[in-house]
Symmetry: C2
Amino acid sequence: MAPAARRRITVPGLRGSDRAVPAATVARLPLYLRALVALEDGGVPKVSSDQLAAHAGVTSAKLRKDLSFLGSYGRRGVGYDVAGLRASIEDEMGLTRDLPVLIVGVGNLGHALANYGGLSGRGFRVVGLVDSAEPLIGTTVAGVRIRPVTELEMLVSQHPGCIGVVAVPAMAAKEVTDRLVRAGVRSILTFAPVTLDVPSGVHVRKVDLAVELQILAYHERARTEAVAG
Amino acid sequence: MAPAARRRITVPGLRGSDRAVPAATVARLPLYLRALVALEDGGVPKVSSDQLAAHAGVTSAKLRKDLSFLGSYGRRGVGYDVAGLRASIEDEMGLTRDLPVLIVGVGNLGHALANYGGLSGRGFRVVGLVDSAEPLIGTTVAGVRIRPVTELEMLVSQHPGCIGVVAVPAMAAKEVTDRLVRAGVRSILTFAPVTLDVPSGVHVRKVDLAVELQILAYHERARTEAVAG
DNA sequence: TAGATTGTTAATCGATTAACAATC
DNA sequence: TAGATTGTTAATCGATTAACAATC
């Protein structure tokens, strides 16, 4: 009988899905990536888990556990190769080629995002800005011309796999989200303080400034009452 | 004459500290609060955990567990009193009187926050805007005059217990944070993509737009590769 | 009472942490 | 070899979920 041909334990063609990276780890990989980029820019070739963890603001045990999900990229007794680990994380995160980003709503927030230096050059490219306000149409922000919302669907089809950013007032957020989803967008970042219902398979991340402040308020209250107690 | 409307079942003088509310619950209370405000504005007097959970985008089991940490504010077979539960959460979160907010850095992001309607009227009041750019000094945003950064310490001392918002470029974030902490601020919201070291007892919440996009990129990559397989 | 819904329990799941054998 | 540091294990901790007795 034939010897078992070298069998991978993983399902062919499903690379990545075999060793599911925990959500908490995925959320920290960008922090490590940023620290690594800074070290590389500073000409540092090697780094230990202790050093890298300090840069990223986590414990070294957590860092090593996180990196272990990507594979073994360190050398015992030595540490990690800065450039190599950086490339590994970029690869794992899907940042090897620029990801198109479409920003809906060019108020102060949309403006801030379009101008954010941390986007271009870090794996993202703003490919579209749309707004519903007449006076804005045709003007440019960060080198990109603002288009009417009616062109949203066209822009999405021109940039398959793009990330949609919802930076419109709360009132308009549901409709914009529905349109993005219908047009084929499956990754959405929203700043609107409303609950968005999307089909399963669509990823939504929500950044809510009021919520962040309210969480801080909770701790501030706890402190004040402890003193007044 | 006012009858004692509210009784406390908790240990006197230890209110709050005896039943530590889990961090995950604290982060969700603002979502419930927002849903309750919307219901109240709509004239809805009662709500079940199923309904409220749907509004907030969580499961009803999770909602009931979360609320159980605040005490028993529902009635079996009936549901929750919308106004009453709203007041309880606001009380628990420390939103009964306006919390002063000091925004450092009035670029697009600081601008967006200062103009954000969800702040005033929801427990917060922007009491100061500071920036280092000469041309901005003296101009007003959302009715607040922009002051030079040199007045940061004075503003903090005028508003004890205020929340500091760091909306300056990454380069300046560390120094601004140190100054806020030295001046006595113990709650900080930062948008700068850098690791901030603060003394224990100081709460920092970090909102990082690039990190959010990178997390979405990870899922987008996973999908693309599954298809390309 | 009969139906509805909470508050709580117990099981499960996922994340963190400390420690150390493996190994450079 | 001796010292350093990773990768992994096992224990702990915290969060989620399902189910249902309590009770309105």
